[in-house]
Amino acid sequence: MKRSYSHYLMVGYVALFIGFLLLPLLIVGGAAFNDTRFPSVWPWKASTLHWFTQMAENRQLLVAVWNTLMLAVGVTLLSVPIGTAAAIVLNNTKGKSRALLYALMTAPILTPAAVVGISTLIFWRGVNVPAGIFMTTLGVSSIISAFVMLLVLARLQSFDRALEDAALDLGATNWQVLTMVMLPHLRPAIAVGAMIAFLQALEAFNVPLFARGNAETVTIYIASQVRIGVTPQINALAVIMILIAVAGGVTYEIGRRREHKRRLKLEGLAQAAEQAEERGELIY
């Protein structure tokens, strides 16, 4: 197939697109190693790691990191069970109720996070819950649960109801059916959901902005620093966060590829067995 002019145009465009997306990250990361007062990659003054050490000694930043980790863990622990339960409940609803329930559940995704933040603050203060990381966890979870629900719901579509019935028929209790048959099937979706919950909570800004009380998260800290005056300490932090994100993405991809290879291999074996059967060999 002859490669046409338009083909190279497209390739070039996509390369530019990807480059446009990744370049700023390289700049942000690179500035962490440059010894200039204001983060920059050009001109390059001197390579240094002292921004990293400064960051490690920055008390306020470390507290913010701790708060953010607490937030991420809390959000994950809350959203994953909720999202999974909601997906199961939704999957067992039919007709008009299902459409309604679906709308109610996905609304948080289509709502500006600022609205979520404000409503969270107003409501929980009204029942005397103080603003802080706990309240922020509640607010962020209300959104993330919807994401987890969608992921688990998609995975549920490929779940054969008959497996639940078979397990029951063989004597399993309801709880055993859930833990031994359904949850193993949902495991990939739950794992991805947990990862997304964690990462999204790390980067949350609009909700913590309103619900945080006096506690700072990393994103809030960075925003406040921008106003005061940034140093490449922030970039050092950014490098770490980028590395975490990359690690997350690469892990997911490796897992996916391995699973794919496994599946192909099994299918190949099944085909061989079918063919043997057809030939009348009927061997094991």
Binding site: F38, A85, P108, A114, S119, F123, A245
Partner: protein, 303 residues
């Protein structure tokens, strides 16, 4: 209902339903309702709560139309708050359109023309900015576009004069496009992968030119993806706090700023609630418009 209990047993069903109800009620809909309710009440000192002046009113909403704080806008005297609101919606639409124009070709190419072997890697490279937070993406451009930043340093080195990039709404637009474009890319990509190549070839076979094929065959198929992307980008843009804050300039204001000012400086949660509700309404309006225009339903839009 009884089917559900039969399938999962009483204990488990109770747990599942309770978790779901806790989420939908305590975390989502009761807070929304409380916020909306509060938006119709005045911000009163503690002593006056429950008293005669504590009644339902549209005052918080009408405060936006305070004519005393108005200036010239497009030839009319418009209250500043209304100006800011309209500008926010206007630029958000602009950002949405730009994101579409940039993301669509890339999504099309990746979905249709890229070799299957390369796709996972390319995908990963594209997904990484998404994993990195909105904060960092915005911060990246803050550095790049700053007056002392690398972009200007580059221009300086080549002999051109430095440009104040972060003036007007430029910074905000560039920042938003960069930050939100992937939310347009992935949904379009998803709906394009479902498109059968045969349809495209059939259209070409019948003599359609490239742009005709796109307009009449491909884009209709990508409708769910496009509406999903447009909805998400608009919603993020209109409700964005970070980007206008970091990449704004003295003469750019975003509607979210009004909300924040009311919330924190004025401690007037009621007005803030009203403005937030307006934000929500504008998003709802946008979603409904998109759904009507593109003739898609809710399930198509949510990833």
């Amino acid at each position: 209902m009884s089917d559900f209990v039969r399938r999962y047993g009483w204990g488990l069903s109770a747990i599942l339903v309770t978790l779901t109800a806790f989420w939908l009620l305590a975390l989502v809909w009761v807070p929304y309702s409380v916020m909306i309710e509060k938006s119709f009440r005045l911000y009163l000192p503690v002593s006056e709560i429950g008293g005669p002046s504590d009644r339902y009113t549209l005052a918080n909403y009408l405060s936006l139309f305070d004519m005393s704080a108005s200036s010239e806008f497009l030839g009319l005297m418009v209250p500043i708050a209304v100006q800011v609101f309209l500008i926010t919606v206007f630029y958000s639409c602009g950002v949405t359109i730009i994101c579409f124009a940039l993301a669509y070709p890339a999504a099309y190419f990746l979905a249709k023309k890229a070799a299957p072997a390369q796709i996972p890697t390319l995908f990963l490279m594209l997904a990484i900015p998404l994993f990195v937070s909105e904060m960092l993406r915005t911060f990246a451009w803050f550095i790049i576009l700053a007056y002392q930043g690398p972009l200007n340093a580059l221009l300086d080195a080549v002999g051109l004069s430095k440009v104040r990039w972060l003036s007007g709404y430029n910074g905000i637009i560039i920042g938003m496009v960069y930050t939100y474009i992937l939310f347009m890319f992935f949904p379009i990509y998803n709906s394009l992968t479902a498109l059968d190549n045969n349809q495209i070839e059939a259209a070409k076979d019948l003599g359609a030119r490239s742009w005709q094929v796109h307009l009449n065959v491909i884009m209709p198929h990508a409708k769910p993806g496009i509406s999903s992307g447009a909805t998400m980008v608009f919603m993020f843009a209109v409700g964005s706090v970070l980007v206008p804050t970091l990449l704004g300039s003295p003469n750019s204001r975003w509607f979210t700023e009004i909300i924040i000012r009311s919330m924190f400086e004025g401690q007037d949660w009621n007005s803030a609630a009203a403005y937030a509700f307006l934000l929500l309404l504008v998003c709802l309006l946008f979603v409904s418009l998109v759904m009507k225009l593109f003739r898609v339903n809710l399930a198509d839009i949510t990833r």
